[in-house]
């Protein structure tokens, strides 16, 4: 009997913790739906009438170009990363090159170097080649940022393809392309999807490079958000609406990739 009550106590505690951690997110949603005057009251007005004014104001104040920039940099870099990472992962798992673990760890080690140390030379290269404030240059940088993660993840997914099936397929006379399309792709598809979602999230969230390398033309959504850093006055509903809209793609991608999220964030070290 006591054990049951203790167990219930743990459940209540877990629920409490969940509510506490979720409260700022919930409050962000709620405030985004309030009018500016209701958003800035003390004590807070929870039951104030709901309105979409915050969102309207956010989209009216030039929010589309940064959002489109963010989408093109994130989706573009994710596609390039997958095109580079999948063959590389193939050469590190299914038909491994010699010293493949060393290569794998080289990929990982580049991820551990702080980006801030490469910021200046990259800025200078962009400046000399006229690529400052250009979304293609940012896209290329995001590729290098995500490539090691994608290679590690794809390798761990591809190594789950049973070797026996591959051998059987090639004995039956299937060519390389057929094997890739008919055998490897179906098994690796969930892994490819998860890798793509995780790369998308990292590119979408990135601020430092975007802040330094882009301006009016190619500024991304996080750069747009930095416009609120020194804001004063009545803007809480608008900033919350902006935070909700900008976070929405990440929330969707994150929950879609929930099962593989840990694996991605730990670079495939934890399954």
């Amino acid at each position: 009997m006591t054990a049951k009550w203790v167990g219930r106590g743990w459940g209540v505690l877990a629920w409490l913790a969940g509510v506490v951690f979720f409260a700022p997110v919930a409050w962000m949603f709620l405030t985004s739906l309030h009018s500016e005057t209701d958003a800035a009251t003390n004590p807070p007005s929870i039951a104030a009438p709901l309105t979409l004014d915050g969102y309207a104001e956010f989209f009216d104040s030039g929010a589309w170009p940064p959002l489109i920039n963010s989408f093109s940099a994130s989706i573009g870099s994710t596609i390039i990363v997958l095109l580079l990472a999948i063959p590389a992962a193939y050469a590190l798992s299914i038909k491994p090159v010699e010293k493949w673990t060393d290569v794998l760890f080289f990929f990982l080690s580049t991820k551990m170097m702080p980006v801030v140390a490469a910021l200046l030379p990259i800025y200078l290269i962009a400046q000399f080649s006229g690529m400052l404030d250009n979304i293609s240059f940012l896209t290329l940088l995001y590729c290098s940022m995500n490539l090691p993660i994608a290679v590690w993840l794809m390798r761990s997914f591809l190594s789950e393809v049973p070797k026996e099936i591959l051998e059987a397929a090639s004995i039956d006379g299937a060519g390389l392309l057929t094997i890739l399309r008919r055998v490897v792709a179906p098994i690796a598809m969930p892994g490819i999807a998860a890798t793509a979602l995780i790369c998308f999230i990292f590119s979408w969230n990135e601020l430092l490079f975007a802040r330094v390398l882009t301006g009016v033309v190619a500024g991304t959504a996080p750069v747009y958000l930095t416009g609120f850093v020194t804001s004063q006055g009545l803007f809480l509903a608008k900033v919350c609406a902006a935070a909700v809209v900008v976070s929405l793609p990440v929330l969707i991608a994150g929950f879609a990739a929930q099962d593989k999220l840990v694996q991605g964030l730990s670079l495939g070290a934890v399954k």
Binding site: W15, A39, A88, A91, P121, C143, L207, L208, V270
Partner: protein
């Protein structure tokens, strides 16, 4: 992946066949090369450039005066009180965020490892903070929660009948930044530790319970040793990500009030003060520091990796 069952291990076990010579060797390497070459060009060459620039006298506002500086930039970095305090800030910020979120993450993972109604929903609520874009999260904390006049924290104090309406960011700037980051990183630690807990073999725990071990003894002698490598991994990955944090410092305090960390300092030295040489020297120092953490991190990942290959 870290702790695999026997069946899984045999599937992953794939001893690399000895590659044949000549054509076939390069045919194997070919798919790897584009990724490898791309990564070397984009990530390794800039570091070489940083190293070279760190020995140069170079302020972009004074281009005529460019030249060799020897170790001057390094001397400046180490004697500049602002840069020195940014080193301290980086260590304080990283250590407190990582340790606090590891402890909280462990607690939450242990809670979520138990069975209770709505566990999936609670898990989803707990992951949400990690999926808010970092700049957006920092903005929410700064304006919507911490604001002394209309922020939620003071609103709640007011509600509960307290007179105190503290200005959170000015009175405790570092803690304000740390708290917002702990909120974002605790879910990450929780996810890693939960994966560790759920890969824990069940039989020894059952045996120990039958033999009369208390739940504390089970935790101390079975669960914790098993979790150790996951704690190490979480701590190291967390350090690698948090050491580089720019978004929270930039947004919440704009590097003021004694919270500027190294990434922010380097950003400022190069982007606002245009001191290219000094910024590079600071960059080299950050790389050197990261290498220490990275060596440990690589060792941990490598041991998990070997365990998988076995």
């Amino acid at each position: 992946m870290a702790v695999l069952t026997r069946e899984e291990r045999s599937v992953v076990d794939r001893p690399p066949p000895v590659p044949r010579k000549g054509y076939s060797k390069w045919a194997r390497r070919a798919p790897l090369l584009p990724a490898l070459i791309f990564l070397i060009i984009v990530t390794q060459l800039p570091f070489v450039a940083t190293l070279v620039i760190s020995f140069m006298k170079w302020n972009s506002l004074d281009p005529a005066n460019r030249g060799f500086a020897g170790f001057d930039n390094y001397v400046n970095v180490f004697t500049d009180p602002d840069l020195r305090s940014s080193v301290v800030n980086t260590v304080v910020l990283t250590a407190s965020v990582v340790i606090i979120s590891l402890v909280l993450g462990l607690g939450l993972a242990l809670l979520l490892d138990k069975k209770f109604a709505g566990r999936g929903f609670v898990r989803t609520m707990l992951i949400a903070p990690f999926l808010v874009v970092p700049v957006a999260a920092a903005l929410i904390w700064k304006h919507v929660l911490y604001n002394p006049e209309y922020g939620l924290f003071n609103g709640i104090l007011n509600w509960l009948g307290f007179d105190a309406q503290p200005d959170w960011i000015s009175t405790m700037p570092m803690s304000a930044v740390v708290l917002s980051l702990v909120w974002q990183w605790t879910p990450f630690m929780m996810l890693i530790l939960l994966a560790g807990l759920q890969s824990k073999p069940v039989e020894p725990v059952e045996a120990a319970t039958i033999d009369g071990a208390s739940s504390f003894q089970v935790f101390r002698y079975l669960t914790f040793p098993h979790l150790r490598q996951y704690l190490e991994l979480g701590g190291l990955l967390g350090s690698i990500y948090v050491v580089q944090n720019f978004d929270a410092v930039f947004t919440i305090t704009s590097g003021g009030l004694g919270t500027a960390n190294l990434p922010y300092m380097i950003y400022q030295t190069f982007y606002q003060a245009h001191e290219y040489g000094e910024a590079s020297a600071a960059g080299v120092i950050v790389v050197a520091g990261s290498m220490v953490i990275a060596t440990f991190a690589l060792r941990v990942v490598s041991s998990l990796f070997k365990e998988e290959k076995r």
